[in-house]
Symmetry: C3
Subunit: 219 residues, 3 copies
């Protein structure tokens, strides 16, 4: 480890929280797409573990954590069961889910970056892979559900930027030997808050320069 971000047990609990909220978002999309309960479980697993699985395959950490940590594997099923029985209630607290999802995003972009760095990647590559860890599960979720990944769409609030910001901050801290529990937490918090503000004020990224006029009609 570059540094233990938190005590291992605390770290593990935070990871599971991130996995849980990502799984909720997968299961909810499955309900909206009218999938059956197995479709819900598959989408929950893929959303929660897909980003980390991709990271582990890229850095050669096989078998990936998704297949070695039983708690990581079981948590999405708990989320699936919850959505299965209570999905109208879960939908109603959608805002709450988004807050947790933002927390997962913040946490995963930091831990993804440090894990990639530990496995010998350069700082830029580590930040890129940390970003991919944070947003990868959501992209796989949308691809499996046969939707345009919301990460790519211009009519969605910023999602990649907070992850990039958190991952880049982490990489900078590592670069200047300042990475620790405090700065790691601050980087995660930075990404988390950026995402919350993006949702609150509907921050969006621009499309290609000359696209603007036409796009308004099309959209």
């Amino acid at each position: 480890m570059v540094v233990e971000l938190f005590r291992p047990s605390v770290q593990h609990v935070l990871d599971l929280v991130g996995i849980f909220v990502f799984a909720i978002s997968g299961a909810l999309l499955a309900v909206r797409k009218n999938f059956d309960v197995f479709g819900m479980a598959v989408l929950a697993e893929v959303t929660a573990l897909g980003g980390g699985l991709f990271r582990d395959l890229v850095i050669g950490a096989v078998p990936p954590a998704a297949f070695t940590d039983l708690a990581s594997f079981v948590t999405p099923f708990v989320a699936t069961a919850l959505v299965f029985f209570l999905h109208p209630q879960v939908e109603r607290i959608q805002a709450g889910v988004y807050v947790f999802d933002a927390a997962g995003l913040g946490l995963f972009c930091v831990t993804g970056t440090t894990k990639a760095y530990e496995y010998g990647l350069g700082l830029t590559a580590s930040a890129a892979l940390g970003t991919a860890t944070a947003v990868g599960g959501g992209v796989l979720r949308d691809v499996l559900a046969n939707e345009v990944p919301s990460l790519l769409r211009w009519d969605r609030d910023l999602y990649a930027v907070p992850a990039i910001a958190g991952a880049a901050t982490t990489a900078l801290c590592v670069r200047f030997g300042a990475f620790g529990a405090l700065t790691g937490t601050l980087a995660a918090l930075f990404a988390f808050l950026l995402r919350l503000f993006a949702m609150r004020y509907h921050w969006r990224a621009p499309r290609a320069w000359h696209r603007r006029s036409e796009a308004t009609e099309e959209a």
Copy 2:
């Protein structure tokens, strides 16, 4: 090997049969989607070898069997040629294809589980990866064809459940030291028959609890 499920040569022939029938299902979908002959070959290869490729990447068995066993690689082309020239006849024996596909499902969920276990995964993870081996190719096929994976859809007969049942039975046998040619065959047969019954009696999995009424209208 945990145990040789069958004599290696028998095992290899069975694997190729599974690969062949999965490839047929890929090539048939390509015809329905109006793809050209190369699209048929790509979809046949992906359907037949995708699940095993994913398994091998996850357990770190590189290069994957899909790229080291020439017969595995060539078999989907034979299936493509067959569908290319005879697809109306193949469509007519669709029921037969489904039976073979069920056989492939049964075989792959067992061999996928044991291979994952040999590479040091836990029993739960092995069963999960065995299931992914059996159903993964079909999911990749549907994603490439830009369709909602039939694995996830509620209006399709159970497909994941037989694979899960076969993989779990295999894992239980391994756990209690009872895995061998006989119990392995029985586990594969169990998954195979479960899938046949699911198709015969249109067994389906439920959707989310409160979704039922609305979904009927939507579907």
Copy 3:
């Protein structure tokens, strides 16, 4: 290395050219799909590096070149910036982009085949993986953009065949000990020209035998 196709620096520049033009095609599709600037960057990265990433994961060359070579990683961002500001002009020189894309295809199918062979794959598997290296990025691009991969569609000019031809020629040269800078260049040139001719004369691959009549109406 089987052989240095060119001096390493020349090879690297050629690789970057291939990466650049593939990235352009990704960014252009993102503009057409109305994605924002981050969607453009993601699609540019995936198109440019996806094929090589898949190859490196399959042969176990981790971390993949995509994450270790900074220039490979940065180049797609340059392409994204270019398309962002100048996409009408880039669209206008679409024909030029296609020529570069064909050059990337020719180069990648040769280097993909030799890299796979160096990592111990058989000749057939090396050629298959070389083909996958050349066409894989485009397939990932289309899957992420939620489109039917143009590789699979019958109404597109031949794309797989030139890659297969280049990869197979490379494998044959290696087989007969005739692979070198000259023959490697010729193999890449062969694939490149085949693709140019396919575009110029709209060469297409046939669909399934009895599909023809119906398909005309459907298309």
